[in-house]
C-alpha cells in the first residue's frame, strides 16, 4: 500500500508539480534573456490542461494502437523512475539491489516512446525525426553510462542508488573529486540531449521538421508527451544530484541546499539552450562519441585510481 502512495503522490504528483514549475522557470528565464515578458507561473499547467480537452486525431493509415500507446509508455516509465529516485532519497535502505540499472533502462524509454510514436504516425517528417532521435540515443547512451560508472566505482562498486547516497553522506559529494567533475560535464550534456533541448533538439526541430515525431499528435497524446518532458526536467537533474551531488537531504538547512542544487542545474540547462544554435545530427554523434566519450573514459580511469 505504501508503494502505491509513493507512486501516486511522489512519483506522479510531486514530480509533475516540480517539473511544471521548473519548466516555467526555464521559460521565464529564457524570456527575460530574450527581452520578452514570459508566461505566468501557471502557464505550463494551463497548456497541459488545454491539450487534454482537445480532440485526439489519429492520422489515416497509422497503426492506431501503437500510436496511442506510445505516449503512455514514456509517461509510465518516467513515473516509475521518479518513484524509485524519491524512495532512495527518503530512505537509503528502502530500495532493491540493482535499481541503478533499472533507472538507466527506464530513462531511455521516453525517447524510445517518441521513436515508436513517430514511426507509427506514418508521416515523412515524423519518420525523419524518429530516425534522428534513434541516432541521438545511440550517440549519448555510451558516454552517459560511462559517466554513471564513476559514482559506482567511487562508492565501492555499488549498483544501488541508496548506497551511492550513503557513501556521499559519509565522504562528501562525488562532484568534489576530479573524476566527479568530468562525469558531471558529460552527464550535463547528456541531460541536454535526453531532454531534446537546443543544441540537441534536431529530432523535433520545429523550423526543419515541424516538431518531428510529434507532428501528428494532438490532444491528450501531445499533452502526455509534454507532461513527460516537463517531468523529465525534474527527474534527470534529480538523478544527476543523486549520483554526483549527494541527493536531496530532508533536514534543516540541507533542504535549502537541495533546492539550490536543483535550481542551479535547471539554470545550467537553460543557459546552454539559450546560447547555442541547433547542431546537425552527424555533428551531435561525433560530439558524443568523440570528446564526451573520451572525457567519460578518462573520468572512469581516474575513479579507478581513486581520484
Amino acid at each position: 500500500m505504501i508503494y502505491i502512495y509513493y507512486l501516486l503522490v511522489l512519483g506522479f504528483l510531486a514530480t509533475a508539480a516540480i517539473g511544471l514549475v521548473a519548466s516555467w522557470i526555464d521559460r521565464k528565464v529564457t524570456a527575460r534573456v530574450q527581452y520578452r515578458v514570459g508566461p505566468p507561473i501557471l502557464q505550463p499547467l494551463i497548456d497541459i490542461v488545454k491539450l487534454l480537452g482537445k480532440e485526439t486525431l489519429i492520422p489515416a493509415g497509422s497503426s492506431k494502437i501503437t500510436f496511442l500507446a506510445a505516449p503512455v509508455l514514456g509517461f509510465a516509465s518516467v513515473v516509475v523512475v521518479s518513484t524509485l529516485l524519491w524512495l532512495n532519497n527518503i530512505n537509503f535502505n528502502q530500495s532493491f539491489l540493482g535499481d541503478l540499472i533499472v533507472v538507466l533502462y527506464l530513462l531511455t524509454l521516453p525517447s524510445i516512446s517518441i521513436i515508436i510514436g513517430g514511426f507509427a504516425s506514418r508521416n515523412p517528417l515524423a519518420s525523419i525525426g524518429a530516425s534522428r532521435e534513434m541516432k541521438l540515443i545511440l550517440a549519448y547512451e555510451l558516454p552517459f553510462i560511462l559517466a554513471v560508472l564513476v559514482p559506482v566505482i567511487q562508492s565501492g562498486f555499488s549498483i544501488k542508488l541508496g548506497e551511492i547516497l550513503n557513501f556521499q553522506a559519509q565522504n562528501g559529494a562525488i562532484i568534489g573529486s576530479l573524476s566527479g567533475v568530468l562525469a558531471f560535464i558529460v552527464i550535463a550534456m547528456c541531460i541536454q540531449a535526453k531532454l531534446a533541448l537546443v543544441p540537441f533538439d534536431m529530432a523535433e526541430a520545429e523550423t526543419e521538421l515541424i516538431g518531428g515525431p510529434l507532428v501528428e499528435y494532438s490532444g491528450s497524446g501531445l499533452a502526455m508527451y509534454k507532461l513527460t518532458k516537463n517531468m523529465l526536467l525534474f527527474v534527470l537533474p534529480f538523478f544527476c544530484m543523486i549520483l554526483l551531488m549527494g541527493g536531496f537531504v530532508f533536514s534543516g538547512i540541507h533542504i535549502f541546499y537541495g533546492i539550490l542544487k536543483y535550481i542551479g542545474l535547471v539554470a545550467l540547462i537553460t543557459v546552454i539552450r539559450n546560447t547555442n544554435p541547433r547542431v546537425r545530427i552527424d555533428q551531435a554523434v561525433r560530439f558524443f562519441w568523440g570528446p564526451m566519450t573520451i572525457i567519460a573514459i578518462v573520468a572512469v580511469i581516474l575513479a579507478l585510481n581513486g581520484l
Binding site: T30, V33, Q34, Y35, R36, P124, L125, S127, I128, V198, P199, D201, M202, A205, E206, T207, E208, L209, I210, N274, T275, N276, P277, R278, V279, R280, I281, D282, Q283
Partner: protein, 395 residues
C-alpha cells in the same frame, strides 16, 4: 541503394510566413533532387498598376514587399523620372538615400534574427529584432511610419526631414552600435554557429555568375556586384562606404556580408544626416510624356528592377517589376543538392527569399506546344470560371 523519400517544405510551413512549395527528394538525410514551385500568392500588381495613376502606383508598389517597402517605390520613381529625364533636387536625393539605407539596416537585422531562428538560436532572433525596433523608431521619427514609409513620389520625396529631429536620430543610431557590435561578435565568433554554417550550401563564383545571382547572395560568392557602386543613384557616389565582398559563398559568408553591410549602412545614414543640404524636395512633375523608362536600385536582397511604359496618359501603359528573389531563388538548386535536410532550411533562408514579391504568372511550354499570349490567358480564365460555375450550379 537507399530508398528515396519525398519531404515537403510547404505550401504552408512554419519556416516561412509566405506560401511556397519545395519538394525535397531525399535518400536518408541527404538531398538528391529538388522541385521548386512558387506562384501560390499571385496578386496581379503589374496589371493593377496599369489602372492607377503614376502617383497612385507609388503607393501600390510600396506594398509589393513588406520588408523592403522602399526599394520598389525607389526603383519605380526612378523609372518614371527616366521617362521625363529630369534630375531630382539634391535634398530629395539625400532623403531618399537615408530612407533606403535605414530600410537596409532593418531588413538585414530582420534576416539575421530569422537565420538564428532557423538554426534554433532563438536568443539571436529576439536580440536582432529588439535592435530592429530602434531602427523602426528612427524611421518613424523621419517619415512618420515604422514600415511602408510613403516617402517617395515621382520627382522627389513627399515629406521633408525636420532639422530638429536630426540630433535625436543620430543619438538613437549611435546608441544601438555597441549592442550591434556585441551581437556581431556573438554571431561571428560562435564555434557552434561556425560548425553549422561554414562550408554549407556553397554557391561558387561560376554558379553565381551563370545564375545571375544578385545582392548579398552574389557578393558572398566573390562577385563584386552592387548597383550602388556600379551605377550610382541617389547620393551613393558622394559618400564614403565600402562594398562588402567575401569569397566562399557558403551560408556563413552570406551572413557575414549582411552583418557587415549593416555597419556600412549606418555609416551612410550618418553621413547623409550630417551633409543634408538645404533646398527643394520636389521637382514638381506636371505631365509624363510618352516613352519608356527603367529604374534599378540595390534593394537589401539585390537589384530591384522596374520598367515603365507611358503612352502620354496619366497611367502607366505597362509596368514590369523584377524583384531580387526572382534571380536568387534558382540558385537554391545549385546550393542545396548534396546537403542534408537539416541544412536545407538555412541554405534557403541564406538567400533571404521574398516569394510574394516575386510572384508572377508563368506559362510553361513543352516542345511543339504553342506559347500563350494575353488573349489566350483571358480565354483560359473565362473557361475555367465557367467550369466552376457549372459545377456549383451558378448561372
Amino acid at each position: 541503394m537507399a530508398k528515396k523519400t519525398i519531404v515537403p517544405i510547404g505550401p504552408y510551413h512554419p519556416l516561412q510566413e509566405e506560401p511556397e512549395f519545395f519538394t525535397l527528394t531525399v535518400e536518408g538525410e541527404k538531398i538528391v533532387d529538388i522541385d521548386v514551385r512558387v506562384g501560390w500568392n499571385h496578386r496581379g500588381i503589374e496589371k493593377l498598376s496599369e489602372s492607377k495613376s503614376f502617383d497612385q502606383s507609388t503607393f501600390l508598389v510600396e506594398r509589393i514587399c513588406g520588408i523592403c517597402s522602399t526599394s520598389h517605390p525607389f526603383a519605380y520613381t526612378r523609372a518614371v523620372e527616366d521617362i521625363i529625364s529630369i534630375e531630382v533636387p539634391e535634398r530629395a536625393k539625400y532623403i531618399r538615400t537615408i530612407i533606403a539605407e535605414g530600410e537596409r539596416i532593418h531588413s538585414h537585422l530582420l534576416w539575421l534574427g530569422l537565420a538564428g531562428h532557423f538554426l534554433g538560436y532563438n536568443t539571436v532572433y529576439m536580440w536582432a529584432w529588439k535592435l530592429r525596433e530602434e531602427i523602426l523608431d528612427v524611421m518613424e521619427i523621419l517619415s512618420g511610419n515604422r514600415n511602408n514609409y510613403a516617402m517617395f513620389k515621382p520627382g522627389g520625396v513627399r515629406r521633408d526631414i525636420n532639422p530638429d529631429d536630426i540630433p535625436g536620430v543620430v543619438k538613437k543610431i549611435d546608441s544601438i552600435i555597441p549592442t550591434l557590435v556585441m551581437l556581431k561578435k556573438a554571431v561571428i565568433d560562435d564555434p557552434v554557429l561556425h560548425a553549422r554554417t561554414k562550408g554549407v550550401g556553397v554557391l561558387t563564383k561560376e554558379d553565381s555568375i551563370s545564375y545571375c545571382a544578385l545582392g548579398p547572395t552574389s557578393r558572398a560568392s566573390g562577385v563584386a556586384r552592387d548597383i550602388r557602386k556600379d551605377c550610382p543613384y541617389g547620393v551613393y557616389d558622394k559618400l564614403e562606404w565600402d562594398m562588402i565582398v567575401t569569397q566562399n559563398g557558403d551560408v556563413f559568408d552570406k551572413l557575414l556580408v549582411r552583418v557587415l553591410e549593416t555597419f556600412e549602412s549606418i555609416k551612410i545614414v550618418k553621413q547623409c544626416l550630417k551633409d543634408l543640404p538645404k533646398g527643394e524636395i520636389d521637382a514638381k512633375i506636371k505631365n509624363i510624356p510618352p516613352g519608356e523608362g527603367i529604374g534599378h536600385i540595390e534593394a537589401p536582397r539585390g537589384e530591384c528592377f522596374h520598367y515603365v511604359l507611358s503612352d502620354g496618359t496619366n497611367r502607366p501603359a505597362r509596368h514590369k517589376v523584377r524583384a531580387p528573389t526572382f534571380m536568387n531563388l534558382p540558385t537554391y538548386k545549385a546550393t542545396v543538392i548534396g546537403e542534408t535536410i537539416s541544412d536545407a532550411t538555412i541554405i534557403l533562408a541564406a538567400i533571404d527569399p521574398c516569394y510574394c514579391c516575386t510572384e508572377r504568372v508563368a506559362v510553361r511550354t513543352l516542345k511543339g506546344k504553342k506559347i500563350y499570349d494575353g488573349q489566350d490567358l483571358v480565354k483560359l480564365s473565362q473557361e475555367k470560371t465557367q467550369k466552376i460555375k457549372d459545377k456549383m450550379g451558378i448561372k
